[in-house]
Amino acid sequence: MSLPEISWIAIVPEIVLSVGAAAVLLVEVQWKPAPRVLGAIAAGSVVAAIASSVIQWLLAGDAREFERLGELIKFSGLIVMDGLAVFGRIALLAVTGFGLLAGWRYIEGLGRRAAEATALILVATAGFSIMVAANNLVMTFLGLEVGSISLYVLAGMSRERARSDEAAIKYFLLGSFASAIFIYGVALIYAGTGEFEVIAIQSYLDGFVLFSPGVILIGLGLVIVGLGFKVSAAPFHSWAPDVYQGAPAGVVGYMAAVAKVAGFVAIVRILLTGAGALEADWTPIVAAIAALSMLLGSVLALVQSDVRRMLAYSGVAHAGFIMTGVVGASTESVLFYLAIYSLQLLGAFAVVAAVSGADNAESDLDAYRGLARRSPLLAGSFAVLLLGMAGLPVTSGFVAKFGVFSDAWSGGHEWLVIVAVVASVIAFAFYLRIIVVMYMQESDATTVVVPGTIRWVLAAAVVTTIIWGVLPGSLLDLAADALPL
């Protein structure tokens, strides 16, 4: 009987996060400390996880350089430590760090339940972190579920808001449904190929000639649906607006961003690597989903009067844009887009959290009236982030859009690019609407109190939005190196 293959370095970040989560829970039980202590523990574990991930990045780079790619397959093929995984992981950890900062006022406000919230966030990140690294589809499913279930709970944790319940149950029911569809797809792929591992599926598909791929195609389709749900691509997006609106403002940004990052990394891995041979089969579907997402998201965002719903629909549109990159079969542009978009999304929701205030009030557009006069910096940051999401030049959003567009174009999907540019123009309208409300309307409401933690998030989001808009090379190089095995 062979001993299990253990590769500690491959799972250090997850271990650190899990230990952090456990520590938070235990410390809380034992000492009931001030929330600050819990925050410190969480922050420490995130930082440590990032540090270890950086080491993983270097190792992955080395392995690629010296062509020892086989070494990156860990735990008998359950997970891999390739550039894609580590890039995704670092993005997730960054999102987590900023997400904790952005939501800290909310978490503190939970009182004794702060520990659970913090622990859930850490564990959710660990789960998604497994998901991005998973090579085995069952592993993907496990990571997905760990993360998703945590998010269901986070969505329902709000103290004051009845809508939180609604968000939680909707998210939970639809999420479970989508998970079931996803795992059924995995099962069908297994039935068709006899493999759970992406790499193995890839070599199977590359090699087969005899067997009709019907069951594999159905399986793949269901997997796309399941993951499409997680990244809120149309027509699997319907949970997103309600959940974004109902869930506590403090953690919505985190919830939205991690799910997108992990979901897209999984999509990239499964579609581009595993099912690369079936590209001709899945490309039209993904392209259709992308087009539908962009148009539907943009058009629906246009008619919203709640900022969170608007951001949710804009998220649908962004899912479409990223899908466009997937159609273009480019990890580089997808990852770049993911990285900058998740930061912008976090920043935007940090603003929402700040405006909603500690009492987690509604996020109606009216609440933003005259914000530029009341809190110029907050409004300015929001404006930059919105323009970034809109994809205007000098922001990273433009570079990201440009990347996915040109990849899709060179992939021969010209029509999709045309749809995308039209959709992005429609999208301008609603981003600008928020700016209109903030800058061009007046209100006698009072200044918004912006907690220091949110300031940090905003600073980071704004600075990266502009830096990577002007000098995208640094991040693009990293994204270009983040190749799947």
Partner: protein, 100 residues
């Protein structure tokens, strides 16, 4: 022996019944049960495929799905209970305040 296709066909039927149940029932509890049905169908598919493929991994995967199902049930029921406490309803149709 019975062709694995039959087993999988049965699984597919169960999956679809579960899926349609989810769409047709408004009681959150029953909707959960439908999800359990769907997961069971997945398990059946895996077992049958594993047998047909002469591969033990199918059975191993089932274990994990069982665990996921259990965890989902725990959290899901917690959510239902907490909603029921405040609203005295288990009908998801009543939870439709957010729309558009």
């Amino acid at each position: 022996m019975v062709d694995p296709g039959w087993y999988m066909g049965l699984a597919a039927a169960l999956f679809l019944i579960g899926a349609f149940g989810l769409l047709l029932r408004r009681n959150a509890l029953i909707m959960f049960m439908c999800i359990e049905l769907m997961l069971n169908a997945v398990n059946l598919t895996l077992i049958s495929a594993g047998r047909a493929l002469n591969d033990i991994n199918g059975q191993v995967a089932v274990f994990f799905i069982l665990v996921v199902a259990a965890a989902e049930v725990v959290v899901g029921l917690a959510i239902i209970v907490s909603i029921f406490r405040t609203r005295s309803t288990a009908s998801v149709d009543d939870l439709s305040e957010m729309r558009g």
